[in-house]
């Protein structure tokens, strides 16, 4: 979403961005690592149902309380990171790659290919993102695969526009002309001399798009159209807890904190990357 990037467009701040970048990356890595060791870290088996321990509020024993089946919510939130993080990363990376390739093609080849790609981009932007996502999942059936297809179809447009713009600007420059005149093939000119100039900004976009992909995944699962039980996912946990909101708010509210933590980590990474690029 190009709109979200409006926020990032501020003047360069102090510092190299290395601290923010490292902090964000460490946070995500720790969360991912914790997902594999959820049982050992929390002392509770995330899958174990214990009907004598239903709806325990958050305590030192159960940091995030227990749910309607007596399962430890903190352990389940950690396990869910193993589903959410890889899918969010893929959900940001796949459209980035597709968009960069299509945008480079559209800018370098121009002609009817360029027109076709950009018209397709216009058409996709005529659909609000969640509606496009829900319709695609309806056509393909719920699940992680459908989420990835939906994310890819909706989000490549930003990258295609960005890369096409850069390529259109560069292709007329002397050094690109010189490379072409020297007899280098189109693929080589594109890959070695043009694309590297468009990539840094695309990478910053992709980093901040991890949050967007995660919110799509969580929303789909929350609506019952994404990850299905017995898979564990944050949005799905929030939906499962909602009927018990009146007296057992923690079942639904706690998993959202994990989504916010990922949001913070990704902001740090994207901000850090941007500052490094601006130097």
């Amino acid at each position: 979403m190009a709109l979200v990037q409006v926020l990032g467009r501020r003047r360069a701040r102090r510092g190299s961005g290395a601290t923010a970048l490292v902090t964000g990356a460490v946070l995500l890595t720790l969360l991912l690592a914790a997902s594999f060791a959820a049982g050992a870290l929390t002392g509770h088996d995330p899958a174990l149902t214990d009907l004598t321990a239903r709806f325990r509020p958050p305590t030192a024993e159960h940091w995030f309380g227990t749910d309607q089946l007596g399962r430890d919510v903190f352990a389940r939130v950690l396990v869910a990171a193993g589903t959410d993080l890889p899918l969010a990363l893929l959900g940001a990376a796949v459209p980035a790659v597709i968009g960069i390739v299509l945008g480079a093609l559209a800018g370098y080849a121009r002609g009817w290919i360029g027109t076709a790609v950009m018209r397709l981009a216009d058409l996709i932007q005529a659909f609000p993102s969640y509606i496009l996502l829900i319709v695609l999942v309806f056509l393909l059936g719920p699940g992680a695969g459908s989420f990835l297809v939906g994310a890819a179809v909706g989000a490549w447009v930003t990258y295609a526009r960005l890369v096409r713009g850069v390529v259109l600007r560069l292709r007329e420059l002397d050094y690109v002309r010189a490379a072409q005149a020297a007899g280098l093939g189109h693929t080589r000119v594109l890959l070695r001399h043009v694309l590297p100039n468009a990539l840094p900004q695309a990478v910053v976009y992709a980093a901040s798009d991890i949050v967007l992909a995660l919110s799509y995944l969580a929303a789909l699962s929350y609506l019952g159209l994404g990850i299905q039980a017995p898979g564990i996912e944050w949005g799905q946990m929030i939906a499962e807890g909602q009927p018990f909101l009146r007296n057992q708010w923690w079942v639904s509210v706690m998993p959202g904190l994990a989504i916010i933590l990922v949001g913070v980590a990704v902001r740090l990474i994207a901000g850090g990357l941007e500052r490094r690029l601006q130097r």
Partner: protein, 315 residues
Amino acid sequence: MTGRGRFWFVGRRLLQAIPLTLVLLLLVFAMLKVVPGDPALQVAGPRASAATLQAIRVHLGLDQPVWLQFVHYLGRVATGDLGTTATGSTKVSTLIASGTPVTLVLLAVSTVFTVVIAGATALLAARRPDGLADRLINVVAAFGVGVPTFWLGIVLLAGVALPTGAFPIGGWGDTPATVLRAAVLPALALSVSVAPVLMASLRSGIVEARRSEYHAAAQAAGVRGWTLTRRFVLRNAAVPPVSLLAALTTLLLSGAVVVESTFGLPGLGLSLTQAAQNRDFNVIQGLTLVFSLAVVAVNLVGDVLVALLDPRVEV
């Protein structure tokens, strides 16, 4: 821009929307061809004979060439016939007619919240660029975008609606007062994720306007206080955000689909997600059409507004 120029711009922009609308109709029609399963088999049931199936295909017009089916589809859409729901009890057009006002009220209240939140924070942030308030607002805004709307809705339900009892725990109202009360919390949840985008655009507009010569001139002429802000800062800072308006409305519409489920608001978004859960094809098809045509219309209105407000737009 002259009056005539504006007239032609609006006319040309309207004409441009026609091919896009046709392509959208074609796409929505094509959904039927992509969805897995034989429609005739779904109507007749798995044990129907070949003859029954053929009769149903003829009845549904599925034996005709695809282009003719598309023409017939256009005819049905033009008369407002979008089929019935999977149970056959309700017309899709009735469903859309009852959901539209709910979604429109939600969008209207969210727009008011978004503008108020974004306007207030932008003015506060622009007071001293890079000051404490500016940086704090920037941080909060950056994270506001990442907070899932449905989760924020749940927090508002648990933290505001349940303890105070001032708002319904979900559902809609039947008088203007109860409708507004039902819309407040979902609209608030919705605007928190959208307001930061508008805030960022407004803030940079305000900062720029304050640095301008006309601002200095107005100050030198003795204009100050709220008059200065309103007449010389906000009016100029508001032009770029107006061009964002269409995109923001699309964002709000998109978010409304999810937030309607959280609060059980009987709008178009709730119908869409329920239809996706129940695999109700006609409803999905009809709603996709309504949503995409709404976005075409919103962009049309947005472009025309920008052209009317901003004399710099080329005609």
